[in-house]
Chain length 461, copies 2
């Protein structure tokens, strides 16, 4: 290591030690006969002092240090003079008397300063994301997200869940949202699709006997990006075998309670309030009602309708997805009153925002066939779109169900971020652009030719 | 839960308890007056017994149970008769006397049996992956991979690393391998590329002051698939600031040692042997020599040349990637003896296979410009391909370096799998096809039109 200590580490216990610290120049204060540098790294800020004596060369160097220069400083730890301590930071009682300075790198003038409150627009922040992420607020969000990930996994590991990766290059299933397509070079005129979620694969994993699966998985939907959507987003995706609604919901509650306790030190009371969909709509006019007390208002919305009528297309469609099981007592309604059939589905709402949703799935090929018929999906279409799941179901599919948490939204709520973009290291704008890397971009014609495609010009479309 | 116990749980301590277990029919043995079922789930196998009395209906049901039927069985736990115990399994002293059987699902006849040694070809195994994954060998591999992931993360978390997600929809940088392209709908005639690795983003994270980053990340390379390559593969990707070679290599050794200890209970001796590239080639004729003792033969190959001459294109190219730092004492050679310049790069070899590789990166814009010049990359090209990294470097980039482990290969070696396909839940064939889901597949013309592309027919290419 180039350093002996981080910038958040030195305390009274280190007085008189010779140390080496590395970091960025957060601030320089030139008081004439004495120059102060606040040196910053991820772990904190350490005050460095420069005097004209005994080493004028080092003092002269200090005069030229600009904001965000990267330094390696050798020095001796001392107490700050009485009255100049800063009790707000862990290193606030000490300072480092500089013996040697190495400029590891310089910095051009910044587009905005490395402080919590800046006036820069979001486009500028994203273009210079490496500066934006240096701000304490952003570092805190990224750190908290890291901790949440670990706490969630840790709880699930203890509950016998297996983390299993599912493919990103998969089959296009034109149901739900629009797929992102990836042309195949080895299979001319064929396309992969990026997964909208690992839904089909996690169900296959249950048929495979994995019993309990989870994955912190990236998902992709090519939607018109509203205020708080991203082309790629992250789910904590889970599935369990031999369960009923109660099991998945209880596990989800305990999972959330464990993570909040571990990461935020907050006790969340369980079980969460449960409100049937009809009541939520009648009383609160929303299927994501914001009721309850305390900073974190969790509640379940249950008893969703299985189908909703699509007036444009004059047909019934699945409210969640076509693998959601109807409530067993409502199965007769499939033939008499489709709209009244309730789903074995549950949404978790936090402060009026949906942060998770799931259901008990259909595991019977006969019931699945009946649902497809109700949805007007032909046998041929079902085979084409979901054939591999239906085939798997013929070889001993266990009863199963699951849930998926929207981690971007959960982290945004917990960190008080206005947008999910503030908890994603490298997000995209509403136009799906990454100002930092300039993606998406033009590519060479040869690259397109290799995958058997060519562009259509916009106006000719 | 539909069950009170798993199939791996019941022991002598549960004698006389009434229990409910769920699982798959692994085997049925009909001895005339007594029928045995081996009921299997992820956790083990429990023997269930059926007698004609007192409940003939349940006994009659047992006669019709086929392989891989999914059952829910209520019964009483009893000792197996003397001489019929199976000491090889944890549940081998007990059996469950069936009181009630519910068939949760049936199964068609299997393409192969759920046993370790089967003769089915790989295509058949992948088509019926949900059956293949039920085999004990495959379950063990998937479980071990899960444990490895947790052990690796656990070690890195303790060392102050932050897990940070980087984008999957990113910019095409035609350097290295071929990119997978994703046409953009919101940005006509522009394309995202799936990342070949998070290399540029992890370097940006260091410029962002994140200090220590890791991610278990999917990577994509559109290569002709040789024996043991996959279009998508998984890396444990890491980067650290203010480090030298020694720091990264020591951390990698300790990481591996901790994971092997925790997951396999095996002590790995560190530090690993280090062999300069020249010596490896001269003595062993390979840059991945298989030397040492013990089941696990780890060694580092160091002092790689920075450049290699491309005879076809008559130019020097980077052996690793163009961000790799030359050894400081070799910098003068850039002007006098390019081929002799050594890189600050290191590869980790296990049993003759490369399982990790990394380097100390260039953090000086001036040195980076010199390397690009040596590689014949024009300023314009450098700006087009890596502009965002070079821009970031102008705002205080710290010295940094890292390493990436190929987790598929590491898990394959550790589980004794012949191919990385055996440690990936849903791998693709050498043609890049997923026999299970039938990806890649044809898509609707309308889908292509929406993203401003059309197909070129194969023969017209």
């Amino acid at each position: 290591m180039l350093r002996t200590h981080t910038c958040g580490q030195l305390t009274e216990a280190d007085i008189k030690k010779e140390v080496i610290i590395c970091g960025w120049v957060q601030a320089r204060r030139d008081h004439g006969k004495i120059i102060f540098i606040d040196l910053r790294d991820r772990y904190g800020i350490t005050q460095v002092v420069f005097f004209p004596k005994p080493n004028p060369a080092v003092y002269e160097q200090a005069k030229k240090l600009g904001s965000e220069f990267v330094l390696k400083i050798r020095g001796t730890v001392g107490m700050r003079p009485k009255g100049t301590e800063n009790p707000k930071i862990p290193t606030g009682l000490v300072e480092v008397f500089a013996l040697e300075v190495e400029i590891l790198n310089t910095s051009m003038e910044l587009a905005f300063s490395i402080e919590d409150d800046i006036e820069a627009g979001e486009e500028t922040r994203l273009l210079h994301r490496y500066l934006d992420l240096r701000r304490p607020k952003m570092l805190k969000r990224i750190s908290l997200r890291h901790k949440f990930n670990q706490a969630l996994r840790s709880y699930l590991n203890k509950q016998d869940f297996l983390e299993i990766e599912t493919p990103f290059l998969t089959k296009s299933t034109p149901e739900g949202s629009r797929d992102y397509l990836v042309p195949s070079r080895l299979n001319p005129n064929k396309f992969y699709a990026l997964p909208q979620s690992p839904q089909l694969f996690k169900q296959i994993l249950m048929v495979s006997g994995m019993d309990r699966y989870y994955q912190i998985a990236r998902c992709f939907r090519d939607e018109d990006l509203r205020k708080d959507r991203q082309p790629e987003f992250t789910q904590l995706d889970m599935e369990m075998s031999f369960v009923e609604e109660e099991d998945v919901m209880t596990l989800a509650e305990n999972l959330i309670a464990a993570a909040f306790k571990e990461v935020l030190g907050i006790e969340i009371a369980t079980p969460f309030l449960r409100i049937p969909y009809k009541e939520a709509m009648a009383k609160h006019g929303s299927d994501k009602p914001d009721v309850g007390q305390g900073d974190y208002r969790f509640l379940w919305v249950v008893d969703f309708p299985l189908f909703e009528y699509n007036n444009d297309e004059k047909r019934w469609q699945a409210c969640h997805h076509p693998f959601t099981s109807p409530k067993l007592e409502d199965i007769p309604l499939l033939d008499s009153d489709i709209g009244a059939t309730r789903a074995r589905a549950y949404d978790l709402v936090l402060n009026g925002q949906e942060i998770a949703g799931g259901s008990i799935r259909i595991h019977s090929p006969q019931l699945q066939a009946k649902i497809f018929k109700t949805l007007g999906i032909s046998d041929e279409d079902a085979e084409k779109k979901f054939g591999f799941l239906l085939r798997a179901f013929k070889y001993g599919a266990p009863p199963h169900g699951g849930i998926a948490f929207g981690l971007d939204r959960l982290c945004a709520i917990v960190t008080g971020a206005e947008s999910i973009r503030d908890v994603i290291a490298f997000p995209k704008t509403q136009k799906g652009i990454c100002p930092l890397s300039d993606a998406p971009s033009s590519v060479e014609d040869a690259q397109l030719k290799e995958v058997y495609i060519k562009m259509i010009e916009e106006e000719k479309k």
